[in-house]
């Protein structure tokens, strides 16, 4: 009974801590703006299928390239589809793919980084060389290769993006681990005879988690941009599924006379990227991590 209470207490502590962090993040205007934008996009992505006023794939020759009006708030595109409908739906795929992509990036990047930091020596050298070699390949070329070989389904996109965006996390996780393993509490655990797994789990992860999470959040916004670029090039989401990158790509020729069809997805995409960036920054500050000295890799 009593130990149960302790466990509950701990969970409460964790929740409290998360709440505390959120509060600190929201206490600065930039953090508040970032959080609001991200929250807005998430809520929108969850609810948009129910609130979209039109069918996103309904083509109509009668309503081609209409300017914004009471019926079509953001106007219509060259196939007569409602831009508002397509814009609020257009972030769903991007968000989902990049969210899971970031999780994968976090997982393999974090674990490999911790491993390298821990073992050091030759193995670390070799692994980091390989990672560096991968870093020097223009990712978009590699992505195009993968996508053209394996197709553009989400089952391909998520792990592929996750793989390419995990490289940066490896470095951060490795550096953080390096800082931690020199500390006496690790030496102490080793001297007691704890296993490597137990040391990683109990001593290292709690101390590098924050740095890795922050990096992951940053990677997420980069990945969004990457994913949208793929869509823009026609290698992301297949039509007629609405997607910002694709929408921008389709409408870019009409810029001069039907600006509405391109502005809305641009605003959607850039606001989300900025929002995630601001949030990640505020998150880092709330955790007391200084990112200013670390340039993105």
């Amino acid at each position: 009974m009593e130990s149960n209470l302790i466990i509950k207490d701990k969970q409460k502590n964790k929740l409290e801590k998360a709440f505390e962090i959120l509060k600190t993040m929201a206490s600065k205007p930039s953090g508040l703006i970032g959080l609001t934008i991200v929250l807005f996009h998430v809520v929108l992505a969850l609810t948009s299928p129910y609130i979209a006023p039109y069918d996103y794939k309904a083509i109509s020759p009668n309503t081609m390239l209409l300017a914004p009006s009471a019926e079509h708030w953001f106007g219509t595109d060259s196939l007569g589809r409602d831009v508002f409908t397509r814009t609020i739906l257009g972030g769903r795929t991007a968000l989902t793919v990049t969210f899971f992509g970031s999780l994968i990036a976090l997982l393999w990047g974090g674990l490999l980084g911790i491993f390298c930091g821990l073992v050091g020596g030759k193995i670390d050298d070799v692994v980091m060389r390989v990672v560096d070699a991968f870093l020097s390949i223009p990712w978009i070329l590699a992505m195009l290769l993968i996508v053209s070989l394996l197709g553009t389904s989400t089952e391909v996109l998520i792990p592929a993006l996750g793989f390419f965006y995990g490289k940066g996390i490896v470095r951060v996780a490795r550096a953080a681990t390096h800082d931690v393993i020199a500390k006496d509490f690790i030496v102490s655990a080793r001297a007691r005879g704890h296993s490597n797994m137990s040391i990683i789990w109990n001593e290292i992860i709690p101390n590098v988690r924050d740095a890795i999470l922050v990096e992951g959040a940053m990677r997420w916004s980069w990945m969004l941009l990457g994913f949208s670029s793929l869509s823009f090039l026609g290698f992301g989401v297949s039509p007629p599924t609405p997607d910002w990158g694709l929408m921008i790509s389709n409408a870019r020729g009409l810029m001069s006379f039907a600006y509405w069809s391109v502005i809305a997805p641009i605003v959607g995409l850039s606001s989300l990227i900025i929002g995630i960036n601001l949030t990640a920054d505020a998150f880092a500050k709330a955790l007391g991590i200084d990112r200013s000295t670390k340039a993105p890799v």
Binding site: S3, R192, G193, N202, E203, P206
Partner: protein
């Protein structure tokens, strides 16, 4: 009465807490610095001494702001000056030497260039004048061969030499006032003594006023004319150095002096209970009330003012100070005698142990051996008896921690054996040791900030060894944790705390509890009190002694502080460059005849007594590597007798006191030389 150079009047400095409350960390501080005078400001960490010293050069740390009062330097208030005005004063009129100033030198610039820069900034001298000045300054801080010194890089200098360069740079602008914040903390004993001697010389020679901030009464005693004692942001005692140190009439200072281990006394110093209150937590009454053994109900409700005692020329903040007048005799006596409960059985034997940090060459790796003719640690032979406390002393780099790490299995030995219980050889590879041997030998580290995982609660920290070695869980685990906390005098409520919510002393208690959780036979203590305040140090030493007497644990106690070692150890081994110099029962090692190195170390100890000056018999420069052959101490030995010291390893000689000395000088002769 000489001219007052700076005067602090009713200064209070504070910050706004997260809840918007104004919290002061300096309260109503007033003091004067006279021309040519050296004032020592002493107090535990967090007492506000650095804040005061910085304010005296018009600098308020970020997040803090002055609440009231002024710092008048030459009839102007520094705290009201613009940063332009302050720039003109800092470096020229008031210079500062922060802690680790030597290490803060720019690594890729030559010494001469860095001093030149200071000169360009703070004086109007032209190039040739500056060049002359540089060698003058290098001479003044007594650096060897100043001509070549100017062309060296910081890393080519020893720690003490770097600190001298920092002093030279601070003197570049010919300041009227020199602020020193813990300038010798972290330096070796002998280096510390040398730097202090230099500062004393400079104060006399140039007539510069100095403010010397330190937690170390021993250092303060060597340089100060006057001493200011701070406690919880207030001045509690102020007066001439000799009076403060010999007749302290404030209970805090009195207790502080008593808690310092002294060379002349064996046994543990009396400890002061409790710790300094956090800023903002004192609402009424005397700030020392919780820890004071003279406290009465009056002190609880009323806060004492700083009162001037004419006949002693001191200011004191205590209602009951009269009870301490003429109590000074007691300062030297009330020391707990400790019992030596070592048994005849040996638990741990180091036999011909050598340890090398050299990288293995490829072939050696295949053969699994280390080929290093000149290893960091060599030929260590020590038999450790069950229940005894054996101390390893020596300056930094003498291999103390290296030996501990090898015993713990964290570092492979090159040669020799480590034998545990009944001459069973312990593998030098941690992974090959059996769990029970791992349990039997535990480590406590110097800095609890580093040795406790910041993301674990005290409960998690203590449950680790309990789970690992005894498979405890649930109620039983919790009960054991509470027992452990009780053993180190911490309440049950500490379980849910994180290390950052504990004071330095409390953290170290948790570290001690974690070591004892394993029910170890041997505990390896690596400088366990060096990061603690004096009053806390005494408490931790007493705790360690108590636990050992109750549980029969054996300690291997590593320290650079000879007085601490004297207080706690039964036997002492003196190390230089990874080689044993002397070993014997503690009271005998502290008596002559001694190994010349022990003699140097003993001479450099700073006692909190202005009448005991350190004896500087040897240079304070330690070689980077041990010598290839001959005596390890040949490079610095003040008693070196000739070539034999360079070529032959000296023999062990047993003195009549029972201490073994490794020197070519005959032991009787050594005794008569050292008389």
């Amino acid at each position: 009465m000489s001219e007052i150079i700076e005067s602090v009047k009713n200064l209070s400095i504070g910050f706004n807490s997260q809840k918007g409350k104004q919290i002061s960390i300096l309260r109503n501080v007033s003091t004067n610095i006279k021309k040519g005078e050296t004032v020592g400001i002493v107090g535990e960490s967090g007492s506000g001494k650095s804040t005061l010293a910085l304010a005296m050069m018009g600098y308020i740390k970020q997040g803090l702001f002055p609440l009231k009062g002024e710092c008048i330097f030459k009839s102007e208030d520094l705290l009201k000056m613009t940063s332009r005005q302050l720039e003109k004063i800092r470096g020229r009129k008031i210079a500062m030497i922060p802690q680790n100033a030597g290490q803060a030198l720019t690594p890729n610039l030559k010494i001469g260039y860095q001093i030149d820069e200071a000169l360009r900034l703070h004086t109007n001298l032209n190039k040739t004048e500056r060049d002359k000045k540089i060698s003058e300054l290098l001479n003044k801080v007594r650096l060897p061969s100043p001509e070549t010194m100017a062309f060296r890089y910081p890393h080519e200098l020893s720690g003490g030499q770097q600190q001298r360069v920092a002093v030279a740079m601070a003197l570049a602008g010919k300041p009227d006032l020199l602020l020193l914040d813990e300038p010798t903390t972290g330096l070796d004993v002998t280096t510390q003594a040398h730097v202090l001697e230099l500062l004393r010389f400079i104060a006399k020679d140039t007539g510069t006023s100095m403010i010397y901030v330190s937690h170390d009464l021993g250092a303060i005693a060597q340089v100060s004319d006057r001493i200011v004692v701070m406690y919880a942001g207030e001045i509690v005692l102020e007066g001439p150095a000799r009076k403060i140190l010999k007749e302290p009439i404030h209970p805090y200072t009195y207790g502080l002096l008593k808690s310092i281990p002294k060379l002349s006394l064996s046994g543990l110093p009396a400890s002061m209970p409790g710790s300094q209150p956090q800023p903002g937590s004192i609402n009424e009454g005397c700030s020392f009330y919780d820890r004071c053994n003279l406290a009465n109900d009056h002190c609880k409700k009323n806060s004492p003012d700083l009162e001037h005692i004419k006949e002693l020329d001191t200011n004191v903040r205590c209602f009951n100070h009269k009870e301490l007048i003429n109590q000074n005799n007691n300062l030297q006596t009330s020391i707990t005698k400790k019992s030596n409960n070592s048994e005849a059985i040996e638990v741990l034997k180091l036999k011909d142990v050598s340890i090398s940090y050299a990288k293995q060459k490829f072939f050696d790796q295949l053969l699994n051996k280390i080929s290093d003719q000149n290893p960091t640690v060599k030929d260590i032979n020590i038999d450790i008896k069950k229940g005894e406390t054996i101390a390893l002393v020596g300056e930094s780099g003498s291999g103390k921690s290296t030996i501990l790490k090898s015993i713990a299995g964290l570092l492979k030995t090159k040669d020799g054996q480590i034998k545990f219980e009944n001459d069973r050889i312990l593998s030098s590879d941690l992974k090959m040791r059996n769990p029970n041997d791992l349990r039997a030998i535990q480590l406590i580290f110097q800095n609890p900030d580093e040795s406790l995982n910041p993301n674990h609660t005290v409960e998690q920290i203590l449950s680790q060894p309990l789970k690992l070695y005894f498979n405890l869980s649930g109620e039983e685990l919790k009960k054991n944790i509470i027992d452990l906390l009780k053993k180190v005098r911490l309440g049950e409520f500490y379980m849910s705390r994180y290390p950052r919510q504990l004071s330095g002393g409390e953290k170290q208690r948790v570290a001690v509890a974690r070591a004892f959780a394993a029910k170890p036979d041997i505990i390896l203590c690596d400088e366990v009190t060096s990061a603690l305040d004096v009053s806390v140090q005494a408490a931790v030493l007493n705790l360690l002694q108590q636990l050992k007497e109750d549980l029969g644990t054996t300690y291997v106690f590593v320290s650079h502080d000879l007085a601490v070692v004297r207080a706690i150890s039964d036997r002492v081994a003196v190390l230089y460059q990874g080689r044993l110099c002397e070993i014997g029962p503690s009271q005998n090692v502290y008596k002559f005849p001694s190994h010349p190195y022990t003699e140097v170390l003993l001479g450099a100890v700073l006692e909190p007594d202005p009448d005991i000056k350190p004896k500087l018999v040897a240079e304070d420069i330690v070689e980077e590597k041990p010598p290839e052959k001959g005596c390890s101490f040949q490079g610095r030995c003040p008693r070196k007798i000739g070539d034999i010291c360079n070529s032959e390893v000296p023999p062990w000689q047993i003195g009549e006191n029972g201490n073994a000395i490794r020197c070519h000088i005959n032991i009787e002769e050594l005794a008569s030389l050292q008389q």
